[in-house]
């Protein structure tokens, strides 16, 4: 019987699948988070309540529970489609990720002092312009680091997709373990793989943070990064 080494190509294919599912889910979660985050702050009742319900529901149980429901139970309801395991996985991971991400977005925007919004209004900017040009760019400096943490968590959540048949690294690893019985080697390889994936995710987000226009005043406790020369003129007094 061959060992783990012979199955290495299959292992790497699984790793690529995991990376793919993670990336698509993170992007999906990010997009949905923005939608949900703004809906949570909406002045209108309907979107506010609907998003509140959605967020509380998807934070109320493990993503695994939702995945099993979407993959096994949902197709049995009349009219519901039978989803491909990959599609079901990405859908569930994005939704659950968005439930947590929406809170990050909401908290990030709420953290921007009301005075900024009022100043914008005094200057005659519309709410949308105020958001786009003043509030959100500042909020990003708080949202992105928190979202980086969530993204690393989403990478770890992808381990659940092995249960619905997606050939991710954990699924392949379990198959290899069942054939070669080399438990320690296989599990070590899986653990290291996930750890590296999380590391890469964090580094990518750190790089993303660097590219954001940072407002020094919002980084309580002092900024870790130097301001770009152009920003120095806009520097506010530290709080």
């Amino acid at each position: 019987m061959p060992g783990l080494l012979e199955y290495a190509p299959a292992f790497f294919r699984g790793l690529l699948t995991t990376a793919f599912v993670a990336v698509v889910s993170i992007v999906g979660a990010a997009l949905l988070s923005v939608l949900l985050g703004f809906a949570r702050r909406s002045p209108r009742r309907a979107p506010r309540l609907a998003s509140l319900v959605a967020v509380e529901v998807f934070r109320g149980a493990s993503a695994l529970v939702f995945l099993f429901w979407v993959y096994y139970a949902m197709p049995l309801l009349p009219g519901m489609p039978k989803l491909d395991p990959m599609v079901a996985s990405i859908l569930v991971l994005s939704l659950v990720g968005a439930a947590y991400g929406s809170e990050i977005v909401r908290a990030g925007i709420d953290a921007i002092d009301r005075g900024q919004l009022e100043a914008c209004q005094a200057l005659g900017l519309s709410n949308r312009q105020a958001m786009r040009r003043v509030v959100v760019p500042q909020a990003m400096s708080q949202i992105v680091p928190a979202f980086a943490s969530l993204a690393a968590d989403i990478v770890k959540w992808t381990s659940i997709v092995s249960f619905v048949g997606v050939q991710d690294v954990l699924h392949v690893a379990n198959a290899i373990r069942g054939i070669t019985y080399e438990t320690i080697r296989v599990l070590t390889a899986v653990a290291v793989s996930y750890w590296l994936l999380c590391l890469v995710t964090s580094l990518l987000f750190r790089a993303l943070e660097h590219r954001l226009p940072l407002n020094r005043a919002l980084r309580a406790g002092g900024s870790r990064e130097p301001l770009r020369p152009a920003d120095r003129d806009l520097r506010e007094a530290p709080r």
């Binding site: 695994l64 429901w69 770890k156």
Partner: protein, 230 residues
């Protein structure tokens, strides 16, 4: 296929047993996580640089690996190291130890937030180091850390579902067993999902009680990590 109430009723006892196991697992691992986390935090602060860095490195390693993989490691690798336990203690133990590491970070954050003047005052009053910890620091830490710790209990409740992969009869495991045995998946998984959501509600209520600023802007409340899933 539509809903079969008779079948749903027949599997309800099994699912309720699974819910019971879920609650038990959550409580047991929470005790280990909250208690162990406190000990790790104290050790990290009082134990010297080597201990401090060892703990930081361990937490960093644990953070990057899914809990499912850690459960498999505990299940398969521990016996080879001589620790022969059945699946349930291993499941509870792995969850407890891993989240003890994460909780220790919360405790450490709370500890760092206590003004040094308080420690000095306690010292000046002649309290022994042990008394300082017991009477002053730990109660303060607990109060400041409570919201984040409650959050971790909630996380443990949700992570308990993963124990089905070791054969432990948590709610999700019972639902899957029922579905596989009868080829009817709609009722078990829907009921399990609803039960999980229902069990989650008391936690959410408790969380909003402990942290009255839940839902208000970040400026109103002390620094607290957003409700992180794991």
């Amino acid at each position: 296929m539509t809903w079969d109430w008779a079948y749903a009723a027949s599997i309800l006892p099994d699912l309720l047993y699974g819910a019971w196991v879920t609650i038990g697992v959550t409580l047991a691992s929470s005790v280990i996580a909250l208690g162990g986390g406190l000990l790790i935090a104290i050790a990290g602060v009082t134990g010297g640089r080597a201990v401090h860095w060892a703990i930081r490195i361990l937490i960093d390693l644990l953070r990057g690996v899914p809990i499912l993989v850690l459960l498999y490691v505990g299940f398969y690798v521990l016996p080879q190291a001589g620790i022969t336990l059945s699946a349930l203690p291993i499941g509870i133990g792995v969850l407890g130890v891993v989240y003890a590491a994460f909780c220790s970070e919360v405790y450490r954050g709370a500890l760092v937030g206590i003004p040094p003047g308080l420690r000095d005052a306690a010292c000046a009053l002649g309290l022994s180091p042990r008394q300082v910890w017991q009477l002053v620091l730990v109660p303060l830490m607990m109060r400041r850390a409570a919201p984040a710790l409650m959050n971790y209990v909630l996380v443990l409740f949700k992570q308990s579902a993963f124990l089905f992969a070791l054969g432990i009869p948590v709610l999700l495991g019972k639902a899957q067993e029922a579905g596989y045995a009868s080829f009817r998946y709609l009722e078990p998984f829907t009921m399990a999902g609803l039960l999980y959501l229902a069990m989650n509600l008391p936690f959410v209520w408790l969380l909003s009680r402990v942290n009255p600023a839940h839902g208000h802007s970040a400026a109103d409340r002390p620094p607290k990590p957003p409700r992180m899933p794991s």
